[in-house]
Amino acid sequence: MKELDTIKEKYPTTRAAILPALYIAQEKFGWLSPEAIEEVSSTLNVPKALVRGVSTFYAMYKHKPMGRHLIQLCTNVSCMIFGAETLLELLKNKYGLEPGGTTEDGRFSLVIMECIGACDRAPAMLVNNDFHSNLDDNNITEILEKYK
């Protein structure tokens, strides 16, 4: 985790680098596996239990293996009134995807999001780091087809 040297310089304490370090480890290992936690702990010289304790507080750190593509679908109010729930149904019927679950082929994981700040283009989702909005039953499948 060489990137961490520059990151550590941004803060007066090493501990403050835990959140960025967890992101880097998650990127590298795909999820916060025991090895990932170990690596953060040894690089920053903070106890493993502490690193784990911090990581479990935050929804965007993953504590189990994820599919190749992470679908983060918003179902909060502005998206709900424009049909986010029918999209959930569709993901279930078409891909067998349940919130918090992963498809059998390891292609997609699905996570329900609270508002992702795209309420004017509801319903909206993030696939990995890409925003997709104004979703409906038709365009969502088209979009997802691009993620193999």
Binding site: K10, P12, T13, R15, A16, A17, I18, L19, P20, L22, Y23, G53, V54, F57, Y58, A59, M60, Y61, Q72, T75, N76, V77, S78, M80, I81, E85, L88, M113, E114, C115, I116, G117, A118, C119, D120, R121, A122, L126, N129, F131
Partner: protein, 423 residues
């Protein structure tokens, strides 16, 4: 009104430093560097600027407290957590006008003699992160950031700290905990962050939009600024409008524009010519208003007199076909999910209210459930550590206050007459 916060954003390269400079950017910083720090704080005080993060605290006053604390180094944090559902107003600044925010932060840092700054950015905005990091790099290259800002004695170092999907980290003391690498649970106040903030040092936390107003105040002067919008609460304001309107989006209008004008004049009225049923005026944590209560000036001072709050200025509009029991249920699901677990009334109460709302919506509501909800809400309100729990209670109380009939109908008819259920 001429736009200031969203100036130039139609320009595809608006986030580039050269374009920003061409449009007059960084001139306020040059002016501010020639002013004494105390004089800038006075100017901000005189402008009447109130924080745009939700609470409306006078910015000049906050700065005075932090400035009076003898400890150094001081820290300046920009709150870019923007997690309140319905809110997407900071996003155009972060993605299209990042140098406005950066210029505002450097001026603020000069005023506060703060040497270090962080932008605490929500994890759900990965594009904004790239744009901000690039903008910061450009600002270093041009000498706006660094040990000697434009060759002056003022030094300021700025970086982005990415959050990881916890709404509570928008609360300033939880944000500080998170920035220190901890679980994001709120701290007890006092001491206030202005005295004991991040890394135990005096810290000012301000919202993106608040800091982006600073260059404008320096540019036109406090006197002229204080004449924009509401007298007690002046300035331009970003309103993010979503839900059943023809033209959802972010609107920059004078503070105190009425809710009716925002919805009907700017956002194009109710989608498909339907009738309005209700509005959440300031993000999901603010009390809902029925259709006949929208002639209220949208500012921090007026909204409480009209039964709600300005919050983040996130207007969510519901037409006549919306099931409000379901909206209330979804709001409660949010609070339950985001409760940090530190205090019992909030941790237990939000989940309990959610389950009662769920059974009412799904046709299993019992006589007495409405009073049960009010009872639970009453036991949360005023008894929690931070405003999240209070918000959950007040939201429930107000849905029932204005739409009790609809809750009763759900119980008598054993479900929603529109056929909706919870997901």
């Amino acid at each position: 009104m001429e736009r200031y916060l969203l100036r130039n954003i139609e320009n595809a390269n608006s986030a580039d430093i050269e374009e920003y400079e061409k449009a007059g950017g960084y001139q306020s910083l040059k002016k501010a560097l020639s002013m004494e720090p105390k004089a800038i704080i006075e100017e901000v005080k005189k402008s009447g600027l109130r924080g745009r993060g939700g609470a409306g605290f006078p910015t000049g006053m906050k700065w005075t407290f932090a400035s009076a604390d003898p400890k150094f180094p001081k820290y300046l944090i920009c709150n870019a957590d923007e997690g309140e559902p319905g809110t997407f107003k900071d996003r155009p600044i972060l993605e299209k006008n990042p140098h406005l925010l950066i210029e505002g932060m450097i001026i603020s840092a000069h005023a506060l003699q703060a040497r270090y700054g962080y932008i605490y950015l929500r994890g759900e905005y990965p594009q904004a992160r790239e744009i901000l990091e690039n903008a910061i790099k450009q600002a270093y290259e041009k000498g706006y950031l660094g040990d000697n800002v434009l060759g002056s004695d003022t030094g300021f170092h700025l970086s982005v700290h990415q959050g990881a999907g916890a709404y509570i980290c928008g609360e300033e003391t939880a944000l500080i905990e998170s920035l220190e690498g901890k679980r994001g649970q709120p701290r007890i106040k006092p001491p206030f962050p202005v005295n004991v903030g991040v890394f135990s040092m005096p810290t000012v936390v301000n919202n993106v939009e608040t800091l982006s107003n600073i260059p404008y105040i320096i540019e036109i002067g406090a006197e002229a600024y204080s004449k924009i919008g509401s007298p007690d609460c002046p300035g331009p304001k970003l309103y993010s409008v979503s839900g059943h309107v023809e033209k959802p989006g972010v609107y920059e209008l004078p503070m105190g524009t009425t809710l009716r004008e925002i919805i009907y004049t700017h956002a194009g009225g109710i989608k498909g010519g339907k009738n309005l049923k209700a509005v959440i005026p300031g993000g999901i944590s603010t009390p809902v208003l029925p259709a006949d209560k929208i002639d209220c000036p949208m500012d921090f001072v007026s909204m409480p007199k009209h039964g709600s709050m300005l919050g983040s200025g996130a207007v969510i509009v519901f037409d006549e076909t919306t099931c409000l029991v379901k909206v209330c249920w979804r709001a409660m699901k949010f609070f339950e999910h985001e409760s940090c677990g530190k205090c019992t009334p909030c941790r237990e109460g939000t989940g309990w209210m959610r389950s009662v709302l769920e059974r009412i919506e799904n046709g299993q509501g019992k006589d007495g459930d409405i009073d049960l909800l009010l009872d639970i809400a009453g036991n949360i309100a005023g008894k929690t550590f931070c405003p999240l729990g209070d918000g959950a209670a007040v939201v429930t109380m107000n849905f029932i206050k204005h739409f009790r009939n609809e809750f009763e109908e759900h119980i008598t008819n054993k479900g929603c007459i529109q056929g909706t259920k919870t997901a």
